[in-house]
Point group: D3
């Protein structure tokens, strides 16, 4: 069955699939908003139809970016509330209300998570620590800024983060907060690692075995930290934990525009050469000491437990229905 989607929802779906909407939290928020709008504007009147309409947009959303992790987590959460409402025999309007509530609840969770991570993570920072970070992560900056506000004397080493130099955004935010920092090129990470007490990075996704998908370069920095016995902390909201990505290595890594790396007029005239621009890499759990979530600090091996807790009341088929490339890969 086909449903007509409100224009805002269409915009969201296009925005996600065209990568105008970007970043794990932003994508999840947009997806939630789309579901919320549909629930609010729904005209259908039977419980089954309500669920079907929500499911219609949910599937559209899931199809936009098969590699995002926060999106299916958000969609699955809302849809499960709607599903239970329907199964419990609630009426159409009640189901819509429940879905809207679930949307609000998930948005709140997103909003609070990175603040909470800042608080929890900051307690793990020692006075005098030198911290290295890569790319630009709100949760990581919250950890650093909270530690700084607590009066801990810290110093940050920021990698510039080629190709898009997000390290400069991190640098500017540290500058604004009066936190001493040093900017380096990415490949100087090992050179300075002996002075580093902790590496703290964000995550785009955390796999069930504790592997961390994050900005390209994270895994080689984590390897250098492991070599030097510096601790590696990952700041990751639990909605980034991915049931679909159990084995880490199997996450499909997006490759982005080669022009981010080098001008098109350079590489276009190459007959023998090309540019590869993978956006993320996978850090194996052996190189991660702790994951700081909004629910507390966990060893990476406990990612499995976090995911199981989230899914434990959901029937297996239900989980599958709202997963992106997991079950789906079977259908190919």
């Amino acid at each position: 069955m086909e449903f007509k989607l409100p224009p805002e929802v269409v915009d969201i779906i296009n925005g996600i699939s065209s990568m105008q909407i970007r970043g794990a939290s932003k994508i999840a928020e947009a997806g939630i908003k789309a579901l919320s709008i549909v629930a609010e504007n729904s005209k259908v009147e039977s419980p089954e139809e309500v669920f079907e309409e929500l499911d219609y947009v949910a599937q559209k959303l899931l199809a936009t970016r098969p590699t995002a992790v926060s999106l299916p987590n958000a969609v699955r959460y809302v849809m499960f509330e709607a599903y239970k409402a329907k199964e419990n025999g609630l009426k159409a309007e009640e189901i819509k209300a429940r879905a809207i509530d679930a949307c609000r609840e998930f948005l709140r969770r997103i909003g609070e998570a990175s603040v909470k991570i800042g608080e929890i993570g900051a307690r793990r920072i020692n006075d005098g620590d030198t911290i290295m970070t890569h790319c630009h992560s709100t949760a990581v900056l919250n950890v650093i800024k909270t530690a700084h506000r607590m009066g801990k004397n810290i110093r940050v080493i920021v990698t510039e983060t080629r190709p898009l130099y997000q390290g400069l955004m991190t640098a500017e935010e540290l500058e604004k907060n009066g936190i001493p920092f040093t900017l380096i090129i990415d490949s100087a990470a090992r050179f300075l690692m002996k002075k580093v007490d902790k590496v703290i990075v964000g995550a785009d996704a955390v796999a069930a075995n504790g592997a961390v998908v994050n900005k390209i370069g994270t895994s080689i920095i984590a390897l250098a930290a492991y070599e030097s016995r510096a601790l590696v902390f990952v700041a990751a909201e639990t909605y980034k934990f991915s049931p679909e990505t159990l084995a880490g290595e199997l996450v499909k890594i997006e490759e982005r525009d080669p022009e981010e790396v080098t001008p098109a007029n350079v590489f276009r005239r190459w007959k023998y050469g090309s540019v590869r621009n993978p956006a993320f890499d996978v850090t194996p759990p052996e190189y991660v000491d702790l994951i700081v979530t909004e629910r507390g600090i966990i060893p990476p091996q406990a990612a499995f437990t976090i995911i199981r807790d989230e899914l434990k009341d959901m029937p297996y088929e239900f989980q599958m229905k709202y997963s992106t490339y997991w079950e789906r890969s079977l259908e190919v």
Copy 2:
């Protein structure tokens, strides 16, 4: 005693110390040329004075760049020939001639070494190999190009090599030679390492324990290769083997202009931040499988033997006199 130096020699000394003359071979060649000019134009007539005049310019040269390795190696070689000539009772003109010959000999050695390395190294490349390289090294390119000419089907992964993007020079040279390659950002090295059979890099210096000083980023790539069981080959002429740098870690690493990393208008206004731009790093011998020299392939632990062979007839005090920051550090 003071000597008046010919203007060309003054130019060379200034060129090295101002970094206009750059790169291990170029610096050595320039130093040799300076000694040669002095010997050719020398007006002094006693053997002692000849040696003293040569020594005068030698010390001037050594003072220019205390971190260069090829320079004291070149100077020491020439001065030892002059020294032996003097000790053996040769006349002033004969000493000058010997010094000029030694200059020629060393220049020939520089000229032939990287070609020979290309030949020897190429034999170690297997048909079908994927090779990763970092920065731009003539010796490495000679290995790759020779292997390609031998008909071996190879493919090269080139890191862009921030901050100065020398990887693009390497890319262009591969393009010109019809050798397939892929350009990546430096921090993507680990992401692609599983496909790599061999990492081949050059060296600015090789320490007596086999540690390799090379362009910043080399050591983190070597670490990633070690993790993945890819082989690491270093292409290094023996005049880059440094008696002064026995313990690797103690090599003084040059820090270069922060503007190479980020525009001055960005970092100058920072009150809390700064930029560090180390030019080299040190790869420990555990991460190096083989060093390809013009005298054959050696395990890194044999660097000690190579250096000992070079110096074995030279009195200890003589070695010290023509070393840059070794014995000298005592005088501070």
Copy 3:
């Protein structure tokens, strides 16, 4: 109290203890069948006697093969259903019915598990993967065959698996399914490991710390995979997870007939020599990346959670009563 056992049950007990019934699933199925027959034919009429009779055969079964893991898991499951029925005040016939249902349920679980493992595991196989396997495991073959059916282009390296050459059975099954493979001797595993993406093996038992007991040779292949950074997957039904074997190393490893290794006429005349033929070895959890169970993929450290979930409602004494060499070893 003594009970007379039906002849079929006696046959099963003898079959297991004489090793005619072999393999983790077969032994569990046989044990379940024995309990089911006893429940179906039970003549006793008080709830206590029903439980006692079932317990009588349960203990006989547990005494047959103290090193099997699936057997106590199966027996414990059925006995717990009977126990709860009795404790809840059910009547004798109801207890028998519950026991029979529990038998059916466990058999269903055995039947479905390896199919489900095939489905779940196959999703983790990438197109183009080279897979190494050792010995002959239905669950592993299900993973490989399902991946092949999904259109993934894979290639399998099969170790012959001395002394009984079960690798040839695996080879024949791959041949039948049109899956390309290469047969090698066991000790060539490291030689070919660089080409391997994943090692997939079965398990005879999984200890609570994630250590895997499997066919002799598994642990040395896993070690070689670990060295080469190839992933190691273990396909194991959850009824092979052993509460009794928490520390892996302490599992008693069966030694089998030396004639499997070399003809008796060879070794019998040796005065100074003997043959050892251990049937299994223990792969430590550090060398295992993932365990594929019918309930999903878990990191090996989560084996503890799987076991705890299974046992969580069972009183400690009850667990002990139906464990083979755990509590029992105290009585010696």
Copy 4:
């Protein structure tokens, strides 16, 4: 120029190339014998012709088995004596005599080496040691037997060594000498490694970086020894040290008849399967503690020094001329 070879020499050349003559020492002895026969029967009368005739057969020999290591070592040794004789202006007959002497000398060296290795190696065995060995090596057996004769109480674990079961030959020799031993399948090596103090194996070739080429299975056993902190000793005559094989990994590993692994009627009917039967593998120097040579015990990194000593007076072109697949690979 073409020379007519004596029938015995033709037989030797055919014997080596058809693998009827096998084993590093046997091949070297046969090659030496061929050169000796040619020198003894040479009819040519000018010094140049003598050398040319010897060179003619030398090149024929080198062409037989490009992967043997002892052969070019033997040939190079003899030819260098002939070469020096010629260069020093000796007469034709004197050159022949020198070549014959060099043949005798090299044969003596082969004959004495494994006895000497037995003596030197035995001193490193402790009373009470458990030793694991793989395959059948005379030098290794000499070490074990000498230690036993010295009254040291030792016990040997022998791997059967698929596919040709040379472990049984080792077992029989230990039996004959009254040395206690245990025979196991190859893949049980890790299972028993915790009880092992030292692994002692032979070598087919030792590369200049200390990598050891030996019977397939050696490297995985060495890996397991390394994991368990058991020492690994390699018993290797210095004529097995290969200048051509500097990088270990680049040694061309012979693949042998698949029928050694499994009967032809099994694998011939396979459409999707095949058998691979590599004869050797390469143990990296990190896994080797000591190499016992007839000149003393060396750490593997000293292989480079041993080779350099052997070659130090030989012009580079000369070395190349009598190397098998080194320089030659350039000509392809």
Copy 5:
């Protein structure tokens, strides 16, 4: 609000803060006793006041030793029972009774835990094992003594445990029980490690990632065990598992009187020197094979699950209130 504390309670508080009361169990028992006395003697009559009075003493207790772990665990347990009683609307006397019961229950748990650990751990000891232990731990001795009573033939290596030589107490207890042992200095641990099958140590605290805080020296011995592939078992009651110490490294390690190390008259006259005497160190979870608790044997990564189970019904704010340096560090 202020409450007057009974003199016995004041004594306990002083005893803990002055370190007269020492050791994880003793401190927990004393804290429990203080709470019990207060509950028994409480004169207040409203439910709120009862809770407030208990909370008053609880906070006093928590302030005594911010680095003890068993103390907040004990206090939190009792206070939660009182809290639930109050929240459920029970009367003042009932709340007191509940608190007193909770005290009794926790004391019982302390009393039983180390016996149970002895039983569970002893099953993991093999006949013939050589066990190394450090310091003096009742739980460890229970494991050893139970294994000995079970007839297992074991031998113990005891480190003297500088600076206070608690190893001698362990030695005397082994002597009394007729268990063979060898006393060594602490730094000889690696020398004898090759003979060791298992290292068994106690714990002062177990962090949520499985890191173990124990007597100084434990971590270097565990490192040596890891190097030699000896197993490391930690015997630890679950009330030593610390929610506050999630990241191990961040545990504040007490430094004790330098006179324990060397006489004051020695170090007091030093102008340039001082003595450091850290009481504990942190063993990372990678070096721990198993933790033996009274609830069973767990892999160190499961510490997280044990802690979560303990806390799962407690509101976050409640947890924080009865934690020592966790939340509190924010207030500084």
Copy 6:
């Protein structure tokens, strides 16, 4: 043939064998002195008798302490000079004179070596370094004191070094020299290792593979340094390099009086316990970064080259004759 030894020589022999003369340099000096006295007082008149008399005392000396390394090195050096003199047909008195000269030369070498090591090693210390040392070594203190005199700001962590507390001697010497230090118990070494840049220790012997025999505890500290990526430097005079100890592990480690560890009245009454007190342990070369000798800094793998250079002109039988437990072990 028997010779009558001067009373001073008898005293020296007894002094060494009763351990009154102790320490590698002291023992070597005493041995040299004994040879020198014998040469000076020799009454015999034929060259053969002179050599025989010297040999007589040499063998007596070698028999005193079969585990000392400096002693046979000293004896071998002197005897070889006497041997060459005899072989070259010198007269009796000339042989005596040569022996006496050789004695002087070796004493001078001993005297100068540790000063030179101080100079060379100090250059490798960086301003700001934290250095850990174990036990009391003159050569190590020379390195530290020279670096301090050069104006380098360093700080030393000194382990007390049970059982004889030589660390206190080191502490006192640092105090006297105004060098800041911290004294710790031995087992706290890992706790403080993260702050350590370099561990510097002496050596009793260096084996040909670079393994270092030194005071018990050295190897576990080196292991902890290796884990933390702190550098390990060994300060060792070349006369401590042992041809006899090629395989490190095979060095016979002296066990000393248990009363050094614990009072006799404690352990004598033990029926089940005993004390072990090994004096040294063996640090494998993997954990050693550099060895500082009086001839320069070498990687541990170059120990082989150092030994070979020392022995290269000595016939094998001669080497054997003046080695302690090498060849000799064959005779047992």
